[in-house]
Amino acid sequence: MASDTDTSFETVTTPRVVRERVNPLRLTWRILRRYPVLPAFIVALLVIAAVFAPWLAPHDPLVGKLQDQDRPPIWEDESPISLKGPKWEYPLGTDPLGRDMLSRIIWGARYSMLIASVVLVSGALGGTILGLIAGYFGGIYDEVLMRMVDLTLGVPFILVALATVVVFDSSMTLIIALLILFSWSGFARQVRAETLRLKASDYVALAVVAGASAKRIITKHVLPGVLNTVLVIASLGIGQLILTEATLSFLGVGIPKPRPAWGSMVAEGRDYIDTSYWMALFPGLAIFAVVFAMNFLGDWIRDRLDPRLRQL
């Protein structure tokens, strides 16, 4: 999506010599088009919220005040159901238990980021190693790996996750494990394909002739060549990962309650949608903003590092 803007821009106009006065408005527009300023800003905000949640959140995300149940956001006059007015303490209003929406959203960023980063790093690591092995050694390794990849792609993940959580009871560890089990395959498949390509290259053949061990060839000659691909897949996949986690939380099998997860906040707000829209609107907006920013950045990074992966 972002891809086309970026590349197209570089080929168009801007003669090199023109160095006179540039209209500041145009300059801003140019920077906005060339660099993903807004998405980067959203991600920065997210990271800050995630890291500093205990200090940033004005209220306890788990404990509400009964007299502050169902407060509307500050720009509303009153809540249509409890007839309470807004309070500056709660800029985005409160939920049915009197908990501050803003604080819960800030803490939600922490859980979302925690899960996304753990899953992404382990999935990338595992998928890359397996992909390298399958691609380099081929044969039975390759066959086994590809069938496992097919399995994770073919089985409806949400249903298996739902069933697993019901069997084992929901916990952070289980959610992370499940998401890892289904996120490594994307890495493995692409790394395998890249490894096959690199293995056929002259410099690898030369290394074999020179008597290098398989381990040395993989780590010194193949791995550096696939790292870009891994980075691109990770940056493209993170948005999807956050969406999946939010969906599981929405269905009630994600991050266990009472921890504030954006998905489960939307689920709670859903019951009050005809009277207190803010309970579902803001957490969902947070998910949307983050996924949008991650997708945009992912496209941008892909176009810088590896435009061949456009089809992904």
Partner: protein, 305 residues
């Protein structure tokens, strides 16, 4: 081509078997089926008799083969909740989900393909900006939230459509958009990039050079070639469909497969869950096989390799 298809078919069967092991393991780990009928009047003899009836007195591998041979004949045991065959329970819900799927597919096609084509032709214009915004929204909005917001705007505030519950055709609109937007976004991006690539290709340049009009170039040369890409999209769509259906049907209270799946999971009705997972996996594999074949038919370059 034939060898490739045989290989694919074998691979699909292996995957299906792996999925069946996974499902069987999960269903056995969910606890003893007999606990569901256990009451204070249950005698030891009755307990043992139930065990024999469900084959629980055999070792696990025998139980698995019994389960598998049943599954091959589409027999997934009796639904715990409804006390009728799980397959029947699942089959009854398929028409409802199919309606939703068709609605979503129509929405995805109507929005995705024309917007993708025109945004490639009028690249950089307002229309292109709109199309790309549409795609960005579709890929970043969580389905459950989109559904709730559509209800908020079009059912609660405007009152144009019913907020949920299956009824007349109007009740299909909001769920279809919820389910179809993500697919529409993917389709739009695919069509757009395929179209851009083709508009830049040699044969289109040649057509232009020989003086063909813009309409002829686009309709006769570009469009025909760009349409191959979205065809493969059916496979992708089907995978996204079931996940989407779980969420969409939950939000709108739609009586389809997705809602059945969620209800069965929370009611630990494992025969029904097994049936749904196996049907979905088989459907996905079958769909991909069909796409492979279709691809070979449409694109001679693939047939030879």
């Amino acid at each position: 081509m034939r060898r490739l298809l045989v290989r694919r078919l074998l691979a699909a069967i292996i995957v299906l078997l792996l999925a069946s092991v996974l499902v069987f393991a999960l269903s056995r780990m969910s606890g003893d089926v007999r606990n569901l009928f256990l009451s204070e009047y249950t005698t030891d003899e009755q307990w043992e008799a139930w065990g024999r009836e469900y084959g629980l007195d055999k070792p696990y591998h025998e139980q698995y083969f019994r389960w598998l041979s049943g599954a091959l004949l589409l027999d997934f045991d009796i639904s715990v909740k409804e006390q009728i065959p799980a397959t029947t329970v699942v089959l009854r819900k398929i028409p409802n989900t199919l309606q939703l799927a068709v609605g979503a597919y129509v929405f995805a096609m109507l929005m995705g393909i024309p917007l993708g084509i025109f945004s490639a032709i009028y690249r950089g214009t307002l229309l292109d900006l709109f199309a790309r915004g549409f795609a960005l929204l579709g890929q970043a909005m969580p389905g459950f939230w989109l559904g709730i917001m559509l209800i908020l705007i079009f059912a609660v505030y405007l009152g144009w459509f019913p907020p949920g519950e299956k009824g007349d055709l109007r009740s299909l609109v909001l769920p279809s958009i919820t389910l179809g937007w993500y697919a529409a976004a993917a389709l739009l991006r695919l069509t757009r990039s395929a179209m851009l690539e083709i508009l830049d290709s040699e044969f289109v340049k040649l057509a232009r050079a020989k003086g063909a009009s813009q309409t002829t170039v686009i309709v006769k040369h570009a469009f025909r070639n760009a349409i191959i890409v979205p065809l493969t999209f059916a496979g992708v769509f089907l995978t996204a469909l079931l996940t989407g259906a779980v969420v969409t049907e939950t939000v709108f209270g739609w009586p389809g497969l997705g809602r059945l799946a969620v209800q069965s999971v929370f009611g630990t009705d494992f025969p029904v869950i097994s049936a749904i997972v196996m049907f979905a996996t088989a459907g996905y594999l079958l769909m991909n096989l069909c796409v492979d074949i279709l691809y070979g038919v449409l694109d001679p370059r693939i047939r030879q390799s």
